[in-house]
């Protein structure tokens, strides 16, 4: 690997050739406190970590485990409202905790770089990609502008961005999310840093796009021999990327081991429970009569392009139909059409034997009551100023006319149904965990005593363990209440866990619909195959094998590189 020849010679303190094996980052007894209500509470409670040059460390754990906080602390940075209260972070001989701001600033961008979860939120929308990519280099005076731009184009090419010569002159909103994430990786790479911290770089992306980004990141980290900390909550992803894996929980290290060893032989119970999540599965049951029929529906926003094109979907009573597809495939639009938020241009929706009025305002409360919806982000689906009591109580009052003691009794019943208790009644959403918030959303839907619940990516914002609990809860509720689900998701593991039937959508059209076992077994239509093969698996060789296979048949790759 002679790429080092191209690195700028002015790299401060790089100390000549980089050799794999020296310790680059040494974190000892790191403690970080976070402030809320003017009280400091520990977030990270003494974590040790050491990283050698050229090594990739995967950090996994549920949200709130302190992953991102540790990632930032590796740069000697604490978010506002956080402080490093103990321990040391030694980067190449310099303790970043006690170093001056000036010293730390010199390192950041040039020797330590950071790739954030949402590239869309991290780029300045008012500037083109190129000036943002090379900003750190120019600031440090490592290269002239012309050289830096040439190098950036080279990086874009290596990251397999389309039109590497021109893409730098686009604005962030003119490229796709996956491309933007790669551009951000290029930005991190420009100074050829010793260490890059990736904070969930692919979490916001579709599986099909994720594969591209993962492959690009892995290649470039290997090519430039960069050490990396890769933070994620997705085990399968970390298995592809990391040499070693560290499992965190509640600000403490649970376990650390080389990737293959960790995957084949996890030691701690907590780690094992993380592994077991993916094994949840539901017996497929054949459907009975249809509760919902979407017949030849076509819909569009404004008079623009059709988002749904002649879509036909049937949901049997008391069963779960999963709608899968990447973002932009029209999954969520389908939900909006069914709920009446977006009246269709053509086609009709039959619910429980009757044709539904197209628009929301024409539907009577009883129809509204029977179709409920659960959202992807429980944070935005619950009004932050309403207590649990108000959130669950309102549909009871609105649809069923319950008040006073009757209402309260029913609320407590519902809370019990979702495995929560009256201690939560007065909580505001901000005082609940993500999983609890989603439970409250489920209770709100159940309060209306619906026949159909539309679940829009309800588990994708949650950690894997919480995901499993929510899915189990939904399955149990279906058994007990015989409610039907239309389950929108892009996660095949979730589909396996919950569905009876599957609808595969691509660019506003239904590619395939059928019972789970049939859709998930070969032969697949080409798009279904691409989608299924893009779902990361726990096997650490999965990405390499997949890329090798796709290279052999490049047609499938191009179909989705939009």
């Amino acid at each position: 690997m002679n790429d080092n020849a191209k690195t700028p010679t002015g790299n401060p303190g790089a100390g000549g050739a980089r050799t794999k094996g020296d310790v680059l980052l040494e974190v000892r007894g790191l403690k970080i406190d976070g402030e809320s209500d003017e009280i400091w509470r520990p977030i990270v409670k003494g974590v040790d970590l050491s990283l050698k040059r050229g090594e990739v460390l995967g950090v996994i754990g549920e949200s709130g485990a302190g992953k991102s906080t540790i990632g930032l602390a590796a740069m000697g940075y604490a978010r506002p409202g956080c402080r490093i209260s103990g321990g040391s972070v030694v980067f190449d001989g310099l303790d970043l905790v006690s170093a001056s701001d000036e010293q730390r600033r010199k390192l950041r961008g040039s020797r330590i770089a950071y790739v954030a979860q949402s590239a869309a939120a991290s780029f300045n929308p008012a500037h083109q990609l190129m000036p943002q990519t090379i900003e750190a280099e120019l600031r440090e005076g490592l290269r002239t502008k012309a050289e830096a731009e040439k190098d950036a184009v080279e990086l874009y090419r290596r990251l397999r961005l389309p039109n590497p010569e021109e893409i730098g002159f686009r604005y962030p909103h003119q490229v796709s999310g996956g491309q933007l994430q790669r551009a951000m990786t290029a930005m991190a790479m420009t100074c050829r840093p010793d260490l890059i911290i990736f904070d969930e770089p692919t979490t916001a992306l579709d599986v099909t796009t994720q594969v591209e980004v993962l492959a690009a990141i892995r290649d470039i980290v290997e090519q430039f021999h960069t050490a990396a900390i890769y933070i994620t909550h997705d085990l399968a992803v970390v298995a592809q990327m990391a040499d070693r894996i560290m499992v965190l929980r509640h600000g403490l290290e649970v376990e650390e081991a080389p990737t293959r060893e960790m995957l084949s032989n996890p030691k701690q119970d907590y780690t094992k429970s993380l592994w077991s999540v993916r094994k949840l599965g539901k017996e497929e049951q054949p459907g009975g009569d249809a509760i919902l029929q979407v017949k030849n529906v076509t819909a569009a926003y404004g008079n623009a392009v059709k988002v749904l094109n002649d879509v036909t979907v049937t949901v049997p009573r008391g069963r779960t139909v999963a709608v899968v597809g990447e973002s932009g495939s029209g999954k969520s639009t389908l939900a909006r059409v069914i709920t009446g938020l977006l009246p269709p241009i053509a086609g009709e929706i039959v619910f429980d034997g009757k044709v539904l009025p197209r628009a929301l305002k024409d539907r009577n409360p009883d129809i509204l009551r029977r179709i409920q919806m659960i959202y992807q982000m429980p944070d935005t689906a619950l009004n932050p100023r309403q207590t649990v009591y108000e959130v669950i109580g309102r549909p009871l009052e609105f649809y069923l006319g319950l008040t006073g003691a009757k209402k309260e009794a029913r609320i407590l019943e519902l809370l019990k149904l979702i495995e929560m208790d009256e201690g939560h009644l007065d909580r505001l959403p901000g005082e609940l965990s993500g999983g609890q918030k989603q439970r409250i959303c489920i209770a709100r839907a159940l309060a209306a005593e619906p026949q159909l619940i539309i679940c829009d990516e309800v588990t994708s914002a949650l950690d894997q363990i919480v995901q499993e609990e929510i899915l189990k809860l939904l399955l149990r509720l279906q058994r007990e209440l015989n409610v039907s689900y239309l389950f929108i998701t892009h996660d095949i593991a979730t589909v396996r866990a919950i569905s009876d039937e599957i609808v595969v959508m691509f660019q506003g059209q239904v590619v395939q619909q059928g019972p789970k076992t049939r859709v998930l077994s070969p032969p697949y239509p080409p798009y279904t195959e691409l989608l299924l093969s893009s779902v990361p698996e726990m096997d650490p060789d999965w990405l390499s094998n997949l890329l090798a296979k796709r290279k052999a048949q490049p047609a499938a790759m191009q179909s989705q590189d939009r």
Partner: protein, 300 residues
């Protein structure tokens, strides 16, 4: 397995502190008040004194606000604690009644402008489409005319009665409230919980009052404090120009104008009503600052 295992540490501590059922709003308010900085306390006390004075003005004032009780421009001390004005009315009594008139009118005007501007702003944000366009363009037109001059013109056409003053000022001020509430509400309208309320079949007033209003209160309250000060100053300015609150009603703005000549002789009496205006303005801003700091969640 229950979810409680996944509450982050701060969550469990909150749970431990929270009283079991139905936390009272009063206790929460008292807790916030105890933590309030000195400036906020100062502001609150001053505002309380003003409110007290304006409510109990007839009991506090030694004389009536209109009665001629002494000679023109009597000095301080003796029978008249703060002397008399150009007609021989007691200055202290007029100051006390002025609190009632000026502050009362300013408060009513601000309230009215917030009810009007806030309701229309929320409606525009929720409904969108042609309703939004129509309201917004109307507001643009109103705002394109300088406010003080517009008010002067309207007052001279309609006559400077207290009712006209309140309505005209409220409508002109509502334009700014409209813009603010519309723009902050637009950020809330797109949230899933508003969509959830719509899907439930909730009507416009419920969505406005229960789903959106509580979430946009902080900027609106801050704006209320500022707008109150501006309305207050504008009314004083109008009175100073002779089109605001009409004599013989005591008003701080016109009191400054009527006694301004005294400044030339080194008498600070005309500065008293001006000082009263300034003190209230500063106090309101102190309180608003504290409220903003408390609700914005900004650190450092």
């Amino acid at each position: 397995m229950t979810d409680s295992a996944h509450i982050p540490p701060q969550g469990s501590l909150v749970a431990a502190q929270a009283p079991s059922r139905r936390r009272g709003k009063a206790s929460r308010l008292w807790r916030d008040l105890r933590k309030a900085p000195a400036s906020a306390w100062f502001g609150l006390i001053v505002i309380a004194v003003y409110v007290f004075t304006s409510i109990f003005a007839p009991l506090l004032a030694p004389y009536s606000e209109t009665e001629l009780v002494g000679g023109a421009f009597d000095p301080w001390g003796g029978q008249f604690l703060l002397g008399t004005d150009q007609l021989g009315r007691d200055m202290l009594s007029r100051l006390i009644y002025g609190a009632r008139n000026t502050v009362g009118i300013a408060f009513l005007t601000t309230m009215l402008s917030f009810v009007l501007g806030g309701a229309l702003g929320l409606m525009a944000a929720i409904s969108g489409g042609w309703i939004d366009q129509m309201l917004s363009r109307t507001v643009d037109v109103l705002m394109s005319i300088p406010q003080l001059i517009f008010a002067l013109v309207l007052l001279s056409i309609l006559g400077p009665s207290v009712l006209n003053l309140i309505v005209i000022m409220a409508v002109l001020d509502a334009t700014r409230v409209f813009r603010l509430s519309r723009s902050v509400a637009q950020g809330v309208v797109v949230m899933d919980y508003v969509e959830a309320a719509r899907l439930r079949g909730e009507k416009l007033p419920w969505i406005m009052r229960r789903e959106i209003l509580p979430n946009i209160m902080p900027p609106l309250v801050a704006e209320f404090g500022l707008r109150f000060c501006f309305v207050f100053l504008t009314i004083s300015a109008l009175s100073f120009l002779g089109l605001g609150i009409q004599p013989p009603t005591a008003d701080w703005g016109s009191m400054v104008r009527d006694n301004a000549a005294l400044i030339t002789y080194g008498d600070i009496t005309p500065l008293l009503p001006a000082g009263a205006i300034a003190l209230l303005t500063v106090s309101v801003n102190f309180v608003v600052d504290w409220f903003l700091h408390k609700t914005s969640g900004l650190r450092e």
